[in-house]
Amino acid sequence: MADSRFREPVELTQAAKRHVRFSPWNLLLLVPLLAVLFPGFYNSDDPRLFEIPFFYWYQLAAIALGVACTYVVYRMTRGDR
């Protein structure tokens, strides 16, 4: 597919080449999607937290879940290309 006649392909260092891979940790990125893309599961008033309906505090809590998953993937794949 790559036509090297037209571009001088940049040589990744040997060390860098070993890091070109798909880490299974990346699958963790799917968790936040599964958590919020099915609103039927959290579209309810109960249980309330600080008098806030479940629908709202669940989604606000899902922000923390998103941060946690993305951060773990970032840490575990750091240096991967």
Partner: protein, 551 residues
């Protein structure tokens, strides 16, 4: 609301002057030898680290219009307005991998716009032009809408008329012209700090003053129970579930292919900076979620939106809430935060649109031998034209027109996804297939938007991005996000046509990228600020002479 609120206005003007000074001083910040190069003027030197990138992308994506319109939607319709939260939760995991690939290939080849990448990857100037024009058309009304954010604040302070907005945008245009992306990057620090301050203050203080969250949700529930709209309420109706999740998912797919998002990404120093930011940008999502709840607080506080032209302008509810709940000086800070929140994205969007024009129209078709200096000069001029156009659109046309256009913008920008995002992963798609798919997606999307009506407001066309299945004769109350359906059609057409063209053996355009380009990191050979000077001329060289001439 005739009296001008002096204290609020003084604070507001002071904050505005502060960022104006910063905007001009920014040209000396992280100073380059010369700003007469798109890597400098348009991408701030391509060297922003983690913190600057965090403020810049946050300031870029979470616009004043968002801050005003999301609570306004929650105020008017309830739970459906909260879709902005799942939307901005999932966007980061979705783009985590693709954004890093885009950064790498762009830094390797000196790409400034998403259309530059499409040109290099698919070898088709026509496809790149289609992507560039789509980007410009989607961005223009978005810039105009930032003015709506400023207008809402001015109205709440009792100021009406056209001059304040014209002056604000003229100043913005001047320092963007001078400092380029450095101006919004520097101002974003002030914008975001102020936004965090005023939102956190509101979320702690207002519920206390209104008697707690139970009271707030109770008042909202009471309002929606009494309304004749079956679609509102503090929970979603069953018919709204699919619309809610598809709107969140489709909007998330669209967000980072907007040209101004790409601009902010490419200004980052490294892949690592981008990936790290994807983990921490959701801090802004928390702010947006809390802001959305201000819509309910406005209901509980009995805020009545200011009427404009006989209809209530819901965009004024957040400014009015601050005005009612806080001391004048703090309301002034909040208004300043919203207005500055309009300036940062407006600046980045105009830079992004100007770069598309310069790189993918001017340089590609009008003056193919333009030097880097000429490109920078053209982009600076184009940024002025873009802003003047945005002001004209707001002042001459009905603001509703911009809102309609922005709605359309989200749907049409999604149609650039196959060429850009699939292109990051595969060359299987044929440029002609992508082009026909793009056109099919646009056609379907525009038709769906056109037939979307709203019986409650009497609007017959373009009354929202949620398409009713009943329009297809399907007996259902359910809706689905128009952009996602159009994208489905686009992908289907692009796939079928690409398969046919490949089977017949129609030659595809020349791919000037190689697989390792998508994996390089800052510091690798051939990557970094130094390569940009040669990369600008590389395309012309590659077209003339089929031999790599770099280094």
């Amino acid at each position: 609301m005739d009296d001008v609120k002096t204290t609020e206005l003084v604070i507001f003007v002071a904050l505005f002057l502060l960022v104006t000074v910063m905007g001009f001083v920014a040209s000396r910040w992280r100073r380059a030898r010369s700003l007469e190069h798109l890597d400098e003027w348009g991408l701030g030197g391509r060297n922003f680290g983690g913190w600057i990138t965090w403020f810049l992308i946050g300031g870029d994506l979470y616009t004043a219009y968002t801050f005003v319109a999301v609570p306004a939607l929650v105020f008017a319709a309830g739970a459906v307005g909260f879709f902005a939260v799942p939307y901005t939760i999932i966007v980061y995991p979705i783009v985590f991998l693709a954004a890093a690939r885009l950064w790498s290939v762009s830094h390797r080849h000196g790409y400034v716009t998403p259309a530059d990448f499409v040109r290099g990857r698919h070898g088709s100037g026509t496809l790149a032009l289609a992507i560039a024009v789509t980007g410009i058309v989607a961005t223009m009304p978005y810039i105009a809408l930032q003015l709506v954010g400023i207008e809402a604040v001015l109205k709440a302070m009792g100021i009406t008329g056209e001059w304040p907005i014209i002056i604000a945008f003229a100043i913005l245009a001047a320092y963007t012209y001078q400092s380029g992306l450095r101006a919004p990057a520097l101002i974003a620090f002030v914008k975001d700090a102020l936004i965090y301050l005023v939102v956190l203050a509101a979320i702690i203080y207002i519920p206390y003053k209104l008697g707690g969250w139970g009271e707030i949700f109770g008042a909202a529930d009471e309002k929606f129970q009494g309304s004749e709209n079956p679609g509102d309420g503090i929970l979603l109706s069953d018919a709204a579930l699919l619309g809610y999740s598809t709107l969140a998912f489709g909007s998330a797919l669209a967000l980072f292919i907007y040209p101004h998002s790409v601009t902010a990404l490419l200004a980052a120093r490294s892949r690592d900076v981008i990936k790290r930011n994807m983990a921490f940008l959701p801090a802004y999502t928390l702010i947006l979620g809390l802001l959305a709840l201000l819509g309910y607080m406005a209901i509980a506080a009995g805020v009545t939106p200011i009427e404009s032209g006989g209809t209530p302008d819901n965009n004024t509810v957040v400014p009015l809430l601050y005005d009612a709940m806080f001391a004048d000086w703090f309301a002034g800070v909040a208004f300043g935060a919203i207005a500055i929140g309009a300036l940062v994205p407006a600046a980045i969007m105009s830079i992004a649109a100007a770069n598309l024009w310069t790189r993918n129209v001017y340089k590609e078709y009008l003056k193919t031998d333009a030097t880097p200096e000429e490109e920078a000069r053209m982009s600076k001029l184009a940024s002025l034209v873009v802003k003047a156009g945005a002001v004209a659109v707001i002042l001459v046309l009905d603001p509703q027109f911009s809102i309609d256009l922005q709605l359309i913008g989200g749907v049409i920008i999604l149609q650039t996804l196959p060429a850009i995002v699939l292109g990051l992963y595969t060359r299987w798609y044929h440029s002609i297939g992508l082009l026909v798919g793009w056109a099919a997606g646009l056609g379907v999307g525009l038709w769906m938007l056109y037939v979307t009506d709203n019986p409650l407001t009497g609007k017959e066309h373009f009354a929202g991005a949620l398409f009713k299945w009943s329009k297809l004769g399907i007996d259902s109350d359910s809706t689905i996000y128009t952009g996602l359906v159009a994208l489905g059609v686009n992908l289907l057409v692009a796939t079928v046509i690409s398969a046919v063209l490949r089977a017949v053996g129609v030659p595809a355009g020349r791919d000037t990228t190689v697989e390792t380009d998508y994996h390089v990191e800052a510091g690798d050979p051939g990557v970094g600020p130094m390569v940009a000077d040669t990369a600008i001329t590389e395309r012309a060289a590659a077209d003339r002479e089929p031999v790599g001439t770099r280094e």
